[in-house]
């Protein structure tokens, strides 16, 4: 019986296969160059126009950073408050999780009308786009802090400031980091979408621009840049999360998948 190769190996093989197809299918004419330019051509164009792409990337990154401040900063804060304070939770959480059903993208034209086609509208949009899921996720995560911790700390004579700094904050770190990871992924998505729709700068804008002039290699150069950005962010966030909360990883090995999109975790990027 042939033994199957390890899963990780297969994943790398799949990736290699993708890259190979990306190169070969257009090269051999099996796929029209207009639809899928060869990988080498895409990389060539990316290198050629590297200054343009780099400048655009900076703008995109700037917008992502600013909207992360909104999405994660506000999202985690509001989520902690709503999740932690019973009254607010009962009152507001169902409302927010109902609002989650609305496709936020339809608000984008409002933002461009208000803020113009520059970075502000992107930041506003991506900020809100990321805010809801991060808030919902944090609200759910806050409730997983065991009340026993607070009881134990009180029995040891901790006063209120100590309860907050020595118990609540450390206990919420995993939730906070999950929120950061989620927020970053979503703001990248939000910024890219808005740059593609109406913009004057940024990688998404470049992609749209080149599409309208049917310059496929440059379109794909932009796509590649975004892919790298998104994946790099994910890997960084995971690595950071793992290091910061090493005790969490071991303890939570067999968590059940949280109910998708209910008042708990929203669907994209289940923790």
């Amino acid at each position: 019986m042939m033994s199957w190769p390890a899963a990780a190996v297969v994943r790398w093989l799949i990736l290699a296969l993708w890259l190979a197809l990306w190169e070969l299918l257009p090269m051999t004419g099996l796929l029209p160059e207009l639809f899928l330019p060869a990988l080498s051509k895409t990389l060539g164009v990316l290198y050629l126009d590297r200054q343009i792409y780099f400048a655009a990337l900076l703008i995109t990154l700037y917008e992502v950073a600013c909207s992360m401040l909104i999405a994660c900063g506000l999202g985690i804060l509001v989520g902690a408050l709503i999740g932690g304070i019973a009254l607010l939770r009962e009152l507001l959480l169902p409302v927010f999780s109902s609002l989650y059903a609305v496709p936020i993208v339809i608000l984008y034209p409002i933002f461009t009308a208000w803020f113009g086609i520059g970075s502000s509208s992107k930041i506003a949009f991506a900020g809100i786009y990321g805010f809801f899921p991060v808030m919902l996720s944090t609200a759910a995560g806050i409730r997983t802090i065991e009340p026993q911790f607070l009881l134990a700390a009180r029995s040891m004579g901790a006063n209120l400031p100590q309860l907050v700094t020595r118990v609540i904050i450390p206990a919420s770190l995993p939730t906070v980091f999950a929120g950061l990871r989620l927020g970053g992924a979503l703001t990248i998505i939000g910024v890219v979408v808005s740059e593609m729709l109406t913009a004057s700068a940024g990688i998404g804008y470049l992609v749209t621009l080149n599409r309208t002039i049917l310059d496929s290699p440059r379109v794909f150069a932009g796509i590649l840049a975004i892919l790298v950005l998104a994946i790099a962010y994910y890997m960084m966030a995971r690595a950071l999360e793992r290091r910061m909360v090493v005790w969490q990883a071991a303890g939570r090995q067999q968590r059940l998948a949280p109910r998708l999109g209910s008042a708990a975790m929203p669907a994209p990027t289940a923790a």
Partner: protein, 250 residues
Amino acid sequence: MTRTQIIATRLALLALVLAAWELLPRLGVVNPLLLPPLSQVLGVLGDLIGRASVQEAVAVTALEVIVAFLIAVPLGAAAGIVIAENEYLSDIFKPMLFYVFSIPKSIFLPMFILLFGIGFQQKVAYAAFTTGFVVLMSATAAVESVRADHVLVARSYGATPMQILWRVYVPSMLPFLLETLRISMIFNFTGVMIAEMYASRTGIGHLIANWGENFQMPQLFAGVIVLSAVAIIFNEAVRALEVRCSTWRT
């Protein structure tokens, strides 16, 4: 707080928001060109619903949403079930799914346009593409939620695979499946909207983008209100159904 108190408070908050929407522009606190008063928006809304062009756009969008959904759900579910059931495939593909989710799929829109041109097929294909992944992931979770010990008990009583499927898996997964449909529809709707707003000559999304470009704010807000209402109503309806079917779930 009792149930009625909660509902009353929420209604009060809503009334407050609506009142602000009406008064702030009217009083000039906020520029009424940027934020038209609520009454104006509602008036325009009433007018728009009557227009044939708007009704056509709604029909187009609805059709795209439905078709994309009908494509994405079976394909995504099948893929998800296959992955969940096979441990080897599971090990290979599940870690990849997290990466996939971090990628903004809207970046692939140009590819669909290059392939299909601008039109119905492109939008449906794109929406099905984005929705398919969500369905896949949810289906995987749904299958994994079926407890192994339940299956074991059934097998120990001699149940055939068919019986196990219908009498253990399906009831176990039913609430999950409804939730899957609900979440997938949210993503599906979003996908269609993005496609329509990006490059399209028809559909509500296109109308909204147009109104935005031309600074027709009352129409824009009217469109947003209607779409939001539809989305929320659908969501709550399915949620109510979920609750009915899952009283046994912890």
